[in-house]
Amino acid sequence: MSDARPDPDPLDRVTSLAREAANAPVPAEIHAEGRNRFLAAALRQPFATRPATDETSLFRQGLRRYALRLALAACVALAGVYVLSSRGFFATSHPLEYEVTGNATSASSYVVASLDSSATVRFSDGSDVVAVPGSQLRVEETSNDGARLLVERGTATAHVKHRARSSWLFVAGPFEVHVTGTKFGMAWDPVKEEIDVTMYEGSVEIDSPIGPSRYSLRAGHRFHASVLEGTVKMDGARSPTTENANPAVPVPVTSGVGAGVTTSAPADTAESTTVPTAPAIATQRPEAWPDLVRRGAFDRVVSAAKDRGIAACVASCSASDLRALGDAARYVGDVDTATRSLLALRSRFSGTRNASAAAFLLGRTNESKGDVREADRWYRTYLDEASHGEFAADALAARMRTSVALDGPSAGAAVAREYLVRYPNGVHAGTARKLSGSE
């Protein structure tokens, strides 16, 4: 029998047929559609940044070439600046000036509002900062484009004039609020180490030692963080009509941080995310789970979660960690952990985009374990919650499959028609046309 066994070469002929078939180029429109879909999705993703390590020396050769050009360009630019400044072009530029009214101290840079009245710092560009009664601020420095203020205690309401170039920084404990032009309230309790930022106009970015390093806030958002508890909470999206509601109501800070903030999000529009990220946990888990998922280390995320206890994580992990765990578990085929993470994401962060995404991913997870009916239910849930969401096209395509499996081709045809109306050039348009009978 062994004599009759073929030489391996003929099998290679069969595998080469498989290679030809698998590697056959797709039509240009499929390639372009996939490319567009990817780039659209990529724009919604946080682009990963390269860690600042010595490993970047791998790019040194290329960088050296560009560095030389950069140095030459910098020399030319510096020469230009020198010429312009020597001709008095910058003669009118100078740091912002300011005056303080209602200050309980005589030092102009140290602003203390008495317990019964507020103090106001007015800057020469028209910006102003009001310290509510009992609050303490320090104007650390001013520049041509803004100032750096330290909120030592209490609540400040800032109205920063937007200009072509402006650079304002408000510091409270370990938090830094970067501002270009906006109106917002900010409170800091140095004892409880809690910050509260309420946005009225424009946007700011907050550098935070807790959770993701930087948060972006827009009008209507409220940001609350506790260093001691290691939590961050963001409430969002009030209706525009309430955004400007009496932003500078001065309320003494004796009742705690954020006491001056009287507006709150209506329940039906609020998006609230609590991120418990205790420092103790951070030290136990030096590499964040979303980062591990980004670089494909799915096993490490799942095993880290199991070390910690899936039940504990489901009860207390942040939304981003639950999402990361859900993804990682799905990728390694741990359906149970994926399901528990995603269900927790939905129950604990109800109403958020993450919760809707979890519905879609639960559909995927259930489909992967063969529970088509449950998968279909989750896909429908996702489409109900986020009909134009990031997974809408995929959810409709998935529903084509589940509908056919559950109720036959006619049910699938109805979904296919809906898909074609919404995504006539979608990746699954060909399948949809076949299913709907339009091809």
Partner: protein, 213 residues
């Protein structure tokens, strides 16, 4: 010393075409958020990744979704790609991970018999001759019986033509393991073809005879 001033003609400065950038530079650009570079990565590697997915999974509608998922994982993880030649193996390894999950998914489907599509879908493009088509179908039926890792090792090594080091990297195993898995898969296929897949067996025999003649 006298002489006329040298007048240099101002040269046109244009952007270096991204299509001609190396992988490392493209990754660097992607980490800066350059979507144009991301597009070039797609242009350069989507065919390879699609090939890996299709050679493992057949013409499954999920292939295009998985292809998207591979590149989204890349966008999220580009910052970790520190070696100049890491992009291709990285994309392949992500694709392989997704393939393994998809294969497990299909296995579960078959167990619970909830879906008729638990079998390997037809290959993407049928070869020109009928015998070849049938042999290929038989090959995939046999592949479907193998453990996932062994199956993928075989497909990467013998269908995609990757070298052993690439297969090992994609599967996250040692080179000796990759080599052993691919060889065992090959042995299993040949033995089982002889017993159960006459279309494949006869096709191989015919090729063998033609070669000997």
């Amino acid at each position: 010393m006298s002489g006329s001033p040298v007048v240099r003609k101002q040269s046109q400065v244009s952007r270096f075409p991204q299509e001609r950038l190396g992988d490392a530079e493209l990754v660097e650009a992607v980490t800066r958020g350059d979507s144009g570079a991301a597009g070039v990565v797609w242009d350069r590697y989507s065919a390879l990744v699609r090939g890996v997915l299709r050679s493992n999974l057949g013409a499954d509608p999920a292939v295009e979704d998985l292809l998207q998922e591979v590149f989204i994982v890349f966008i999220r993880g580009a910052g970790e790609l520190r070696k100049a030649g890491a992009l291709r193996p990285y994309l392949v390894s992500v694709a392989v991970r997704l393939v393994l999950v998809e294969l497990r998914r299909r296995k579960i489907r078959r167990w619970v018999t909830l879906s008729p599509t638990g079998d390997v879908p037809p290959i993407p493009v049928a070869p020109r001759d009928l015998a070849g088509t049938m042999a290929l179908g038989a090959l995939y039926r046999l592949l479907d019986e193998l453990p996932e890792r062994r199956r993928v090792a075989f497909v990467l090594r013998h269908v995609q033509g990757f070298d052993v080091a690439e297969v090992a990297l994609a599967l996250g195993v040692s080179e000796s393991t990759a080599k052993r898995e691919a060889a065992r898969a090959r042995g299993s296929i040949v033995r089982r073809a002889e017993r159960r897949e006459p279309a494949l067996w006869e096709y191989i025999r015919a090729l063998e005879q033609a070669r000997d003649e």
